[in-house]
C-alpha cells in the first residue's frame, strides 16, 4: 500500500478508514455526580496507518483503548471498526497490554496460539503462522520455552505476536514498552517499526513518551486531561524505515518540542 498517499490525507473520514471514532464520551458513575473521563473524542485511522496517542496520566488514553477493544461501552458516541460499530469484544482486534500478560502454563508457541485456540481457528495453518511470527521477532529456538525462561523484552515480543496471530484489522497497544528498561525499549521500538512495515497492520499506540510517539508514528494525537480530550494532531513526515539515530536530528527534535509544548499548554506531563 502507498504510505505516502495515506500520510498525505489527514482527518477527513473516508471509506478506507479502519477506525472511525465519532464524538465519543465516557462518564464514570451515573447521574450528575458522574465523572467525565472522555469528552467528545473524534478521530479516524486509515488502513495501514501508525497512530500514537500521547497524554499525561489520567487523561483517559487507556480508557479510550479499552473502548476500542470492546471491553468498555462508551456513554455517548461510537467507534467503528471497518464500518461496523464496536459493541463488545470482537475477533478482529489485537491488544497488547502494558505487561506481556503471558500464561505461565503455556509455552511461547502456546501463548502465541492463544487467540487461535479461543477462536477455534485452523490448527495446522495457525501453527505455521505462529512459527513465522516467532521467526519475525527473532525468537526461533525459544518456541517451546516457558515465559519465565524469557527476558522482559522477549516476553513482550511474544505479547505482540500473540496479538497478530489471528490477523486482526487493528493492533491496539497500551504503553507496551513502559515496563522495559530504556535500552530494551529502544530496541523494541526499532523492532516494532519493522514488524509494522512487514505486516502492514494498522496500529494505535498509546505512550507516555513523546520521543517514542514521534519515532513510531505517522501521526501523533495529543490528549489533554480532565476530561480527556483530543488536543493537537501532528503529522510526522520522517522517512521510513527510521533508524534510531534519527532521534538526534533537528527535524525529530522539532517534532518532539512542538508536542511537548502542546502537552505543557495543558499542564504538562506529570
Amino acid at each position: 500500500m502507498n504510505r505516502a498517499a495515506q500520510a498525505a490525507r489527514m482527518d477527513s473520514p473516508s471509506s478506507t478508514d479502519v477506525i472511525a471514532v465519532d464524538r465519543l464520551s465516557l462518564t464514570y458513575g451515573g447521574g450528575a455526580s458522574g465523572v467525565l473521563a472522555l469528552s467528545d473524542i473524534s478521530f479516524s485511522i486509515a488502513d495501514g496507518e501508525f497512530i500514537s496517542i500521547v497524554g499525561p496520566s489520567g487523561c483517559g488514553k487507556s480508557t479510550l483503548l479499552k473502548i476500542l477493544a470492546g471491553l468498555l461501552p462508551p456513554s455517548e458516541g461510537q467507534a467503528k471498526l471497518n464500518g461496523t460499530p464496536i459493541r463488545g469484544a470482537r475477533r478482529d482486534i489485537g491488544v497488547v497490554f502494558q505487561t506481556p500478560v503471558l500464561f505461565p502454563w503455556r509455552t511461547v508457541l502456546g501463548n502465541v496460539l492463544l487467540p487461535a485456540d479461543v477462536q477455534g481457528l485452523d490448527k495446522e495453518k495457525m501453527r505455521k503462522r505462529a512459527m513465522d511470527l516467532v521467526r519475525l521477532v527473532g525468537l526461533e529456538g525459544f518456541e517451546n520455552r516457558y515465559p519465565r525462561e524469557l527476558s522482559g523484552g522477549m516476553q513482550q515480543r511474544v505479547g505482540i505476536i500473540r496479538a497478530l496471530i489471528h490477523d486482526p484489522a487493528i493492533l491496539l497497544m497500551d504503553e507496551p514498552f513502559g515496563a522495559l528498561d530504556a535500552m530494551t525499549r529502544e530496541t523494541m521500538n526499532v523492532e516494532l517499526q519493522r514488524i509494522w512495515m512487514e505486516s502492514g497492520k494498522t496500529v494505535l499506540f498509546i505512550t507516555h513518551s513523546t520521543s517514542e510517539a514521534v519515532y513510531l508514528a505517522d501521526r501523533v494525537i495529543v490528549m489533554t486531561a480532565r476530561p480527556g480530550k483530543i488536543g493537537d494532531v501532528f503529522k510526522v513526515d520522517l522517512p521510513r524505515p527510521r533508524p534510531l539515530d534519527i532521534m538526534n536530528t533537528e527535524a525529530f527534535g522539532a517534532y518532539v518540542k512542538r508536542i511537548r509544548v502542546a502537552l505543557n499548554a495543558d499542564g504538562g506531563l506529570d
Partner: protein
C-alpha cells in the same frame, strides 16, 4: 544445606535424642504408663505389626481418610467453583459458609456418630466435613485471583465464559487448589481419627482409645508414630501430584503461594 555429611548429622541427632530419652527414663525410673522408653515403643510397634493387629486397623483408618478426602474435596471444589463464579450464589450461601467455617468441625463428630452409626460411613462423613473447607476457600480465592489484564486479554479475544474458566481461571487457581488439597489431606486424617475416638469398632483412633483405657502408653506412642508417618506419606503424595501438574511453578514460588494461600480455617 543437604549433602551426605549433613544427612548423617541429622540421623546422628535423632539417635542421640532417642538415646538420651532411653537413659533418662531408665535412670529416673519413670513408670512405663507415664512415659515409656523408646525401646518399649519400638517393641510395642513390632508386636502390633507381627500380630497383624496394627495393619488391620491401619487400613481401616486409611480407607476412611482417603474416602473422606475424596468426597470432601470433590464437593468443596464444586461448591467453591459455583460460589467463585456467581456472586448471587455467594450472596445466598454466605451466612451458611461463615457459620460453618467458624464452627470447629470436629465438634460435630458425636452427632455424626449418632446419625450414621459406628461404621465406615460416619468416619468418611466426618473426615469429608473437616477436609471440605480448606479446599473450598482456596478454590474460591484461586478462581478469583486471575489478574485483571489476563481476564481483559481473554475478553478482548471474545472468549466465552467457559473458555475463560478452562483456559485461564482454572489453571490460574491450581497453586491455590493444591495448597488446599495438602491441608485437606491432613485434615481428613484428623477427622477420621476424631470420629474413631467418639465411637468406632475399628481403626487406629479406636486402638489409641482402647490402649488408653488399658494404660498401654508404649502402644499409644507406637500408633502416634505410625499416624505421623501416614500423614507424611499422604502429604507427599499430594506434593508429588502438585509438582507434576504445576510444572510451570518453580519450587520457590510454589512454596510462596502455598504459604500465602494456606487459609481454610480450623479443624
Amino acid at each position: 544445606m543437604g549433602g551426605a555429611k549433613n544427612f548423617m548429622l541429622r540421623l546422628l541427632l535423632i539417635a542421640a535424642v532417642l538415646a538420651v530419652w532411653e537413659v533418662l527414663v531408665k535412670m529416673t525410673g519413670v513408670p512405663e504408663y507415664i512415659l515409656p522408653a523408646p525401646s518399649r515403643i519400638f517393641y510395642a510397634m513390632y508386636n502390633g505389626i507381627k500380630s497383624n493387629v496394627y495393619p488391620q486397623h491401619f487400613f481401616v483408618t486409611l480407607t476412611e481418610t482417603l474416602l473422606g478426602f475424596l468426597v470432601g474435596t470433590i464437593l468443596a471444589f464444586m461448591l467453591g467453583t459455583v460460589v467463585a463464579l456467581s456472586r448471587r450464589v455467594e450472596y445466598f450461601l454466605y451466612p451458611f459458609i461463615v457459620m460453618f467455617q467458624a464452627m470447629p468441625k470436629v465438634a460435630l463428630a458425636p452427632l455424626i456418630i449418632v446419625w450414621f452409626g459406628l461404621g465406615l460411613t460416619s468416619k468418611v462423613i466426618n473426615a469429608a466435613l473437616v477436609a471440605f473447607f480448606p479446599l473450598m476457600v482456596n478454590t474460591i480465592v484461586g478462581l478469583r485471583s486471575a489478574e485483571e489484564d489476563r481476564i481483559n486479554l481473554m475478553r478482548s479475544l471474545a472468549a466465552s465464559r467457559t473458555q475463560i474458566f478452562f483456559m485461564l481461571q482454572l489453571p490460574n487457581a491450581l497453586p491455590y487448589i493444591f495448597a488446599g488439597l495438602e491441608i485437606a489431606m491432613i485434615f481428613a486424617l484428623i477427622g477420621a481419627i476424631v470420629a474413631e475416638f467418639v465411637g468406632a469398632e475399628r481403626g487406629l483412633g479406636m486402638l489409641i482409645q482402647s490402649m488408653n483405657f488399658n494404660m498401654d502408653v508404649a502402644g499409644q506412642f507406637s500408633i502416634l508414630l505410625i499416624l505421623s508417618l501416614l500423614g507424611l506419606v499422604l502429604n507427599g503424595i499430594v506434593n508429588l501430584a502438585r509438582r507434576h501438574l504445576l510444572f510451570w511453578e518453580t519450587a520457590n514460588t510454589g512454596e510462596e503461594t502455598a504459604n500465602t494461600s494456606k487459609k481454610g480455617g480450623s479443624v
